[in-house]
């Protein structure tokens, strides 16, 4: 039940952001739309505990800050490589262990890794190995594994369960 309340909270928030009209009637209409959407979407198996919603906030904030810094750095780095007259790239594929067991953790890891500078996940296999295409493969493996360990630990704190 707590999980459904959380989903509904985010749905109503998105509705209010889209309509930009914080009157009470509009909030009620948004709640009705949220209930309709949640009735239409097929329910996935809800076995996770959803307690301690507030403890999640610092971990989520740290994750967001790391993601934002990586995003800005990736834009600047790709721009520098493209504008360099000699195109200094050494492309190749590096395999990085994800460190998460659930599908959601792996998907979020792949998304975060795609946003980090010069990396693009091209595939995930059953054992959780992220095949990452790198623009510059010179000693990329060590730093990528370290970044992925930090990310996996943060994801575990966000979802409050061993992912």
């Amino acid at each position: 039940m707590a999980c459904q309340m959380r989903t509904m909270f985010f749905l109503i928030l998105a509705y209010l952001l889209l309509t930009a009209n914080p009157e009470w009637s509009n909030v009620v209409l948004g709640a009705a739309v949220a209930v309709l959407v949640m009735a239409l979407i097929p329910r996935t198996a809800d076995v996770r505990e959803c307690q301690g919603f507030l403890k999640v906030v610092p971990a989520a904030l740290q994750y967001g800050v790391i993601l934002g810094v990586d995003l800005v750095k990736s834009g600047i780095q790709v721009a520098r490589i493209v504008l360099h007259p000699k195109l200094p790239i050494r492309p190749g594929i590096v395999a990085v262990p994800a460190g998460c067991r659930s599908d959601l953790g792996r998907a979020l890891s792949a998304h975060a890794m795609t946003l980090t500078p010069g990396q693009l996940v091209v595939g995930i296999d059953e054992s959780g190995m992220l095949y990452t295409h790198c623009l510059d493969t010179t000693d990329a493996y060590a730093s990528m594994t370290r970044a992925q360990e930090t990310r996996a630990e943060l994801l575990q704190r966000i979802f409050l369960s061993p992912q």
Partner: protein, 117 residues
């Protein structure tokens, strides 16, 4: 005074966004193979639109909510689209520049470049 300041901010955002769009298309032309092209277009192209949207939030009578929602949506879907296209290219064995086994020389990871069925 304040409107002039906002206008300068919006103009800076428009110039930065146009710069990133030019860089994205330039990378699309210059890069040697499909995967490296995805780096240029998937990241830098989305960056250009995000900066233009910041200018639009500052300058047009658009609420912060819709602009922020669209920026968030673009940042999520840009990465997902790049991932989907790269995965498709990996599945149908599009040739790539450079070596495909960079993970092998520095650890005990399995050889990553195996074309899958």
């Amino acid at each position: 005074m304040q409107t002039v300041l906002f206008e300068i901010l919006a103009a800076a955002a428009v110039i930065t966004g146009t710069f990133f769009s030019v860089v994205g298309v330039l990378g699309f032309i210059r890069m040697p193979d499909v995967y490296t092209r995805l780096h240029a277009t998937g990241k830098v192209g989305v960056f250009g639109v995000v900066f233009l949207l910041i200018a639009a939030v500052i300058e047009t009578p658009l609420g912060w909510g819709k602009g922020l929602f669209l920026i968030f949506f673009l940042l999520v879907t840009g990465a997902v689209t790049a991932h989907a296209i790269a995965s498709a290219a990996y599945h149908i064995n599009i040739p790539m520049e450079g070596k495909g086994d960079a993970g092998r020389d520095s650890g005990d990871t399995p050889p990553p470049w195996e074309p899958r069925a």
